[in-house]
């Protein structure tokens, strides 16, 4: 297995997913000569300056034009180049949704679209900059794989996995400064294969993105009350790891899906759609941003408002047991 930069984890945790992205793209540039980075005027924001300086001939800024960014990316991919297109999660899957459908999805191209600052990470910038529906938009497009990594090292490993993956990927990045380290050592990461992070028999928390830390903390709160909680890191929303879900359906009594996204069309929706095919499965409740636009506030405020904290998740589970 390729050696991962464990020595960077503390810094990556401190600085958040953008730094992991920027540094990992530079590493990918060294390891994959056919790999390029495309953006739409987001170079400093997405921490792409390092890549731009290291590989000026493999870095393309198409200007503030996200639709063209996706089609340009598709044109590169058609010809065998490996593009990583980087944009804001609030803008990129939604505005060029049609380009993602007809160019990347329909032609099933090997390209990765990275959405940074997903969910309500942009807090004070307001609702125009919140990505609460990005997974829903992409999930409806055939051929797309959707990955929402849960910690700094997983972001790094997911980007590496994307560089060798067949078909288009939407990589949804959450986890700002203070991004919890959930994997302090190297671990087995495969797109489409969920990780049983914690064993437990009653409640099953199925989470993705940076909320894994809150999910584990909530499980510990419940443990003190004698409630056994399994925690599943469902980093890949599409395709779902149905083998893992089948285990949960047969072994747990309550499912709580946990995501920084709308309850419609995201991880919770995907689990519910799969679950609908079976009788006698556990009840599912949704911890999410709700089907609503948000109040203005910083990220911590919005997480608390929506119950996406350890205590909020624990309370939700307890109420529904």
């Amino acid at each position: 297995m390729r050696k991962v930069p464990i020595e960077r984890l503390q810094e990556w945790s401190k600085l958040g997913h953008r730094t992991v992205l920027g540094e990992t793209l530079v590493m990918l540039g060294a390891d994959y000569p056919e790999m390029v980075t495309v953006t739409a005027d987001l170079t400093p924001t997405a921490r792409l300056t390092g890549f731009k300086e290291a590989y000026p001939d493999r870095f393309y800024d198409v200007g503030i034009a996200e639709q063209n960014m996706i089609d340009f990316t598709a044109g590169l991919a058609v010809e065998g180049i490996r593009p990583f297109a980087v944009g804001l999660a609030a803008i990129v899957p939604m505005r060029p949704a049609e380009q993602m459908r007809v160019a990347l999805g329909y032609m099933n191209l090997n390209a990765t679209v990275v959405g940074i600052e997903a969910g309500v990470r942009f807090g004070p910038l307001g609702n125009t900059h919140y990505a609460m529906d990005d997974i829903a938009v992409v999930r409806a497009i055939p051929n797309f794989t959707i990955v929402s990594p849960s910690d700094p090292l997983q972001v790094h490993k997911a980007l590496y996995a994307a560089a060798e993956y067949d078909g288009p990927i939407y990589m949804r990045l959450t986890g700002g400064p203070g991004f919890p380290i959930m994997y302090p050592e190297d671990f087995d990461f495969q797109i489409g294969k969920a990780i049983e992070y914690r064993k437990g028999s009653e409640v099953a928390f199925i989470s993705n993105g940076a909320l894994l830390g809150e999910a584990v903390a909530a499980a510990e709160i419940l443990q003190t009350k004698g409630i056994s909680v399994r925690v599943i890191d469902m980093h890949t929303v599409k395709p779902l790891d149905t083998v893992m879900l089948d285990k949960v359906f047969s072994e747990n009594k309550l499912i709580v899906t946990i995501e920084e996204h709308s309850p419609i069309g995201g991880l919770g929706g995907a689990v519910a759609e799969y679950k609908a095919g079976f009788s006698g499965t556990p009840k599912q409740v949704f911890a999410s941003l709700g089907d609503k636009f948000q109040k203005l506030g910083d990220h911590a405020f919005l997480m608390k408002e929506n119950g996406l904290t350890a205590s909020g998740l624990a309370a939700l589970a307890e109420e529904n047991l």
């Binding site: 390029v36 198409v62 089609d71 340009f72 044109g75 590169l76 058609v78 160019a103 329909y106 032609m107």
Partner: protein, 278 residues
Amino acid sequence: MDKKITIESIEREAAVMRRHVIEMGYAAGGRGAHFGPALSSIEIVASLFFKVMNHNPLEPTMTERDRFIQSKGHACLSYYAALVETGYITKDQMYTFKGDGSFLSGHPSRNMRYGIEISSGSLGNGFAIAGGMAKAAKIKKEKHKVYCLVGDGECNEGIIWEAAMNGAKSKLDNLIAIVDRNGVQLAGKTKDIMDVDLEALWKAVGWEVLIVKEGNDTASILKALEKMKNSQSGKPHVIIANTTKGKGVSFMEDSISWHARPLNKEDYEQAVSELENA
């Protein structure tokens, strides 16, 4: 392609392609076809496939082939007719156009076995993808060109201009767009729907622009294509070709209603008669 190709031989191929357009469109029955925009673009597509482009039907994925992107994908019948006449598609396959299970959809679907480079027809996107393909050729230091057929109505799309700006910025001098300016779009004349000065717009975004007054005249369009192919301007190139919608079939010419519709037996027979006696 073969050096013995002459303007007259391309004109003969164009005439056969027009017949193929009518045959395929008639075979589609009540499903209809976009006759007008296919017929306006025949000389452009014929000149590309029979003279200008380097390609080989026996090796559709040949690295050094020139790429053809039909961004105005609704006009696919002119593309399919060229693929039939150059040997990518058989005549039997041609008659499956728009049929259940056929690979010849009403807008092109990527299929490299039959020389179809990309899926197009969602307007503007083919042109923007062509920009990425031209950039890829630059990255890989390949010498081929990317030819992209765009509609004049299609130039209403914002992404055309996003991609055009980026093409100029990226100095994609291996990208040659041809605007099939037939003056008619789905719901009316282009001057009534969105009256713009295309020449000024393309120049403003930094492209080398050439106007062809008679875009259905093979000699004129061929001359323009060869000129742009050999241009040393360092800019991406666009040929704005004035054409006639529905060219070659009297009742389809300059007609809004023949942009797309089914062809009945009586009209089919008249169209065939006109094309045979042309």
